[in-house]
Symmetry: C3
Subunit: 203 residues, 3 copies
Amino acid sequence: MLVLDLIGVAVFAASGASAGVAKRLDLFGVVFVGMVTALGGGVIRDVVIGSTPPLAFTDWEYATTACLTSLAVFWLHPQVDRLRRTMLVLDAAGLGLFSVVGAMKGVDFHVPLVGSIMVGMITGIGGGVIRDVLTKEIPVVLHREIYASASLLGAAVVVTVTHFGIARPVPIIGAILLVFGLRLLSLYRRWSAPTPRVGPTSG
Amino acid sequence: MLVLDLIGVAVFAASGASAGVAKRLDLFGVVFVGMVTALGGGVIRDVVIGSTPPLAFTDWEYATTACLTSLAVFWLHPQVDRLRRTMLVLDAAGLGLFSVVGAMKGVDFHVPLVGSIMVGMITGIGGGVIRDVLTKEIPVVLHREIYASASLLGAAVVVTVTHFGIARPVPIIGAILLVFGLRLLSLYRRWSAPTPRVGPTSG
Amino acid sequence: MLVLDLIGVAVFAASGASAGVAKRLDLFGVVFVGMVTALGGGVIRDVVIGSTPPLAFTDWEYATTACLTSLAVFWLHPQVDRLRRTMLVLDAAGLGLFSVVGAMKGVDFHVPLVGSIMVGMITGIGGGVIRDVLTKEIPVVLHREIYASASLLGAAVVVTVTHFGIARPVPIIGAILLVFGLRLLSLYRRWSAPTPRVGPTSG
């Protein structure tokens, strides 16, 4: 479990650090954006459910993994670029993992149904939103592709199914695979969520 | 009380979702910005005063109201535009309600005088600030009109008056009406807060 | 101690309020950005370590100092400009103080080693990051000079040294002076952290 979690952390750190490199931040900036992207969703989750200090501050493996991954991206970024395809697949896995595990942590802290689903989604997409705000972009999850929707669906499925008393391992693994598959499929098929009809507001 | 609160949530969700539509976010982005605008101020308030998980995560009515309102704006946004005047009036009411009720929640959690006033203002304007950061705008409350000032005044009045032991219903209702009236008056008269004198820094 | 802390608050408030003036925010906006810059790092620190309500909400001296300083900058900003050199020195002192004291507060709340270092750095640079996000800039600490790195180093030194049981006053003062000196030296020598090599990503 911890190993899976750390893979998620590493993937998200790589995505944050790459955004930092693209904005020509310095060494520290790249590592900072990488770490915030990797750990931000989980920190917000833990603060919201009242589990302080957050896991990212109590278990050194998280910060260390995020820091080393970001450093690696800083030094190796042309090579990281060539791994873009692999990174997208890993990122889809990280999204599934964080969304589903985050939602279940909400349930374990007695957050009700709808709240736990929101906690799961925040865990999954929170880091990426902070990454985009720090690098002065409108968060990409707000206007592109099936990303946050996959996170939301996975969180909703796992919370609802376990709510009705079904033993955990199956729905958790199932929901992670659901997010993962949906995200990959949307990348492959270039699916997008609908956008508003053009109207008088858009001028 | 809950009904009043939910009206405030709906109005703020509509303002957030409209901003999302104007930025041509997709369906998910519009709903996300709408929900964060509606619930963000209250979530920060509850995290700051240590009341976790926040109300928006424990009472499903909040998230549901915010979500449905945002969906309605997504589908009906040209019509919403025609309601701009009504929206401004409702928004003024929401501002009064959130600021005053937020400040009193601070008092109930034993936050001292100045802190409770700050809690009230954060509740009132926090969602709008997050909305503007997510859509890449300098928060509008920071450079336009009497908005945050009205929120601050209402929070200050209600906290100070109840501090001296006056029974609650009267100052709460009075402070809400004060924010509401001041905000409407400033819209009608086009009042603004003073801006810095032009000087060597502004070049 | 409180006096030192309030000097740090005042310096950070002045830096935030100056940024607000430069963006031509109104009176309220200038004060708001000033207060958030001065108090934001400490509020995040207290929320993360679970010490709620945060100090900035319970001790009125903090909010009052930040508010009065910001008002002073609003009225006197051309003069503040002439003090730029003094401000940089005071800001370096504030950075040292906040980073080191923040890290030790993490230790006192039983946050482990790596976590406490992160808490210290967040306390030191958090306010400035929020200031830049609110005024629509990429946070300056992410792409310029030795700033966050000095904060990180000071936090790391004080947490590590006190971890091995050395009595507090000496490492605390030493670490504050270390951050202060390193920051001044980097300003004087125009040191910067390394930036990524130009590669295919930067096009």
